[in-house]
Amino acid sequence: MTASRLLVVGPISFIAVFFLYPLVAILAKSFGGGAVGLGPFQVLLGDTYYLGRIWFTIWQAAFSTFLTLVLGLPVAYLFARHEFPGKSLLKALTTLPFIMPTIVVAMGFVALLGSGGLVNTGLSGVFGDNAPQVRIANTLTIIFLAHAFYNYSIVVRIVSAYWANLSPQFEESSAMLGAGRVQTFLHVTLPLLLPAIWSSAILVYIFSFTSFGVVMILGGSQFATMEVAIYELTVKLFRLDIAGALAIVQIVFTYIFMLIYTRIQARSAVPVTLVHREAIAKRKRSIRDTLFVIGIISILLIVLSPLLALVERAISTNDGYSLVHFSALFSNDSGSYFYLSPLHVIWNSIRFAFMSMVIAMLVGTAAAYVIVRPGKRSSILDSLFMLPLVVSAVTLGFGFLVAFNRPPVDLRGSWLILVIAHSLVAYPFVIRTLLPVLRGMPPHLKESAALLGASPLRVFIHVELPLIARALVVGATFAFAVSMGEFGASLLLVRSEFTTIPVAIFRLLGQPGAANLGQALAMSTLLMAVVALGFVVIERFRYRDIGGF
């Protein structure tokens, strides 16, 4: 009994102390300490600048989502309905951008389309110094592109998994009833896919809505989203009350989107008979299909090109390719601006990520077990535990600053605050990977083991653990990667001696000079490599597409 009590109390008190309490602190701050009432909100809503930021956040997320769908749906079709050599590799690569830290994605776009980027140097190389240049750095265009790049794998994953399991007999029946290809798509396939499309679109919208790293690096403050505005209010203007009010406005928005998302998910879970994917093989091949495939593959290459450009830029110097930027990272006498050596920064990221992973695993696993326990409260608990996904990282960091800023709990200077923030961002991923496995576990498996003479402990060790082991590995890797790449909360919370890789990259970018840019690129490449390695682990161990985020 005490063990199961601990299972419930542990994760709930973690959330209460480190998530709900900071939110309450923000709320208190935004109401101006009680005396002024709605003051900060009045300031906020009376200021055209902030109203403009709110409106900008809303429409840029909408357009980003639209662009993402346009890019993602054909690829989803490709993966759902076509077999071709190299498909699984391509599929894995497609998901790469999503797990990439925003800072790496942003740096990829700098490397590809920035003024010294691959495209522009290429153009100069071919057409000489007067060559036409792509000038989209610091424009809205590059932000949209980066958002689409970052999120399109969400569309691909969710829609293709659903599409692949959709019985082709619906389409065949439609054809037998006299509908042409286009009619069949419009009247049969599309309506059936709509729940999947909607739920992926809302997720993309939420992520674009709370976008921080991409906007900070590619846009600058003229394109500030609410998230960026909260950061600047906190760090540069010290208007914590207005920052709090803005954070509350943002939370309300994202919470509404999340509600819609879970509604759609719950509804789409019922009606359509899904067929197991092996039962569906691509039936016919025509020239049109082949052209389609080639077209889509080229889209994919374009989508992956920022990551490739990042690597290329990181190893290119004025005298051709070399690893000089990388070796500069590992030499302690680097001439970079801050006194912390890059090696130390890397070490910081790794140890914080490891600690966050451990905490996220403990909290996430316990929470997942609590959620699957039979009972009516399961869905309430589920949404409670998923709340940290809704609240943006900057808001979370901001909440920590206002909640834990005086004795007895003054965590501002401690690395612990960083680790806790990372665990909060990471543990929902652990829950999401564990839940399908725990829910899918045949009900009699544990009972069978018990009846064959296994004590509860041995049932766990011999039956349960081996079955959830893969999901645990995937969840742990997710948690590690999320922590390695976490940018928004870190930027607010980190002290210089605890600087992590994403924060260091951002600071390096703020310094002039080719050497600094080179090091930033090299560090981004390293971060990408670490995360990509983690991703290989995830792909290796993941065995179902549905579920995931």
Partner: protein
């Protein structure tokens, strides 16, 4: 002295909220006996099985095994075997790992585990399947692996919860015979839950008929078939020709005024029924004789007359459906005879011999 039962249930009850799942069930199982719990789905038979296994708690009553009260004993300490409907084979282990699981839990040495697993796989005709993955097995093979797994630790009592439920009819019938012969070869005491009467007949030494969480009747299959205790049991066993009647006279033979006409059967009256009572009469469909009206019967006896409504071809046998008096009766005869003797619309003579008649107290209102 007769051996005392190995498993004894005394007034076991279990309810979920307001509704009883199991109500005052008392049951004895002898050593080596194969008992089938038969009843419609949702009648509580699976719950009863899970209570015996220790997977569910009961509200009241006692269960003892070899005279020892099982109350509070954990499932894994009972030494019982259980085969689930979904089999619950461990997907992360191969056949060997599955069958050897219970043995390893007993702490048996690897060599002995290997020997015992081989022995079990021989028993279920899967000698070469040791290293197969679970997902490579066909439906019937999985069933046999699950059986081998539950038998391997030599359980003191084996429970099987509709283990063949998911198979098609042909495979199910061939496995029924195999399961019975394997269980009898080992001599294990077993309780088998099913809702399929054919399966119960094929397997059971004793059938326990369960309905609404209560034991309605129990006994050897033939006894149940010949003397069902209630109309529900009779209908569940597939008996037709159940009509109403009243006892007119009872001495050496009993005379009944039924809706089909006057019937007679050998006395004495079954307990609980006396002259003048309303009763239910079951007429064995294979013992009714049907002949054209002018046919000369070789023997004397009560004769009724009726009209043939239709003939139904059922392979080797045919059914003659007819209206006799105010009742519909069915006679099952070899197809060859049916074709030659009568056709639809014919008036016929119907002979119901005394041994074809069974009397039941009427269903309670």
């Amino acid at each position: 002295m007769a051996t005392s039962p190995i498993l004894q249930l005394d007034k076991v009850s279990k309810s979920y909220g307001e509704t009883f799942a199991i109500r005052d069930v008392s049951l004895n199982v002898d050593r080596g006996e194969l008992v089938c719990l038969l009843g419609p789905s949702g009648c509580g038979k699976t719950t009863l099985l899970r209570i015996i296994a220790g997977l569910e708690t009961m509200d009241s009553g006692t269960i003892s095994f070899r005279g020892e009260d099982l109350h509070g004993m954990a499932p894994h300490s009972r030494g019982f075997g259980f085969m689930f409907q979904d089999l619950a084979l461990f997907p992360h282990m191969d056949v060997f790992g599955n069958v050897g699981f219970g043995l390893r839990m007993q702490g048996m040495s690897n060599d002995r585990v290997r020997m015992r697993v081989d022995e079990m796989l021989e028993l279920v005709d899967l000698g070469d399947y040791r290293n197969r993955k679970v997902h490579e097995l066909s439906g019937g093979e999985r069933q046999r692996v699950a059986l081998a797994r539950s038998l391997a630790p030599a359980p003191k009592l084996l429970m099987l919860d509709e283990p063949l439920g998911s198979l098609d009819r042909v495979l199910r019938e061939s496995l029924q015979a195999q399961v019975r012969s394997i269980l009898k070869e080992i001599g294990v005491t077993a309780i088998y839950v099913t809702h399929d009467k054919e399966e119960a007949f094929a397997l059971a030494d004793t059938i326990v008929f369960v309905n609404g969480g209560q034991v309605v009747q129990s006994g050897p299959p033939e006894a149940l078939f010949q003397a069902p205790a209630t109309e529900m049991v009779a209908r569940s066993l597939g008996l037709r020709n159940i009509i109403e009647g009243t006892i007119v006279r009872a001495s050496e033979s009993v005379e009944i005024a039924s809706s089909a006409g006057t019937l007679s059967t050998a006395g004495p009256l079954p307990g609980g029924i006396s002259v003048g009572d309303g009763v239910l009469v079951i007429i064995n469909e294979r013992s009714i004789s049907v002949a054209p009206v002018h046919h000369e019967w070789a023997e004397m006896g009560i004769r009724l007359s009726g009209v043939v409504n239709e003939q139904k071809f059922r392979g080797g046998e045919s059914e003659i459906h007819m209206t006799v008096g105010r009742s519909e009766l069915i006679s099952v005869v070899p197809t060859v005879d049916a074709q030659t003797e009568v056709t639809s619309g014919d008036e016929v003579s119907v002979h119901v011999p005394p041994e074809a008649v069974t009397l039941l107290p009427p269903a309670e209102a």
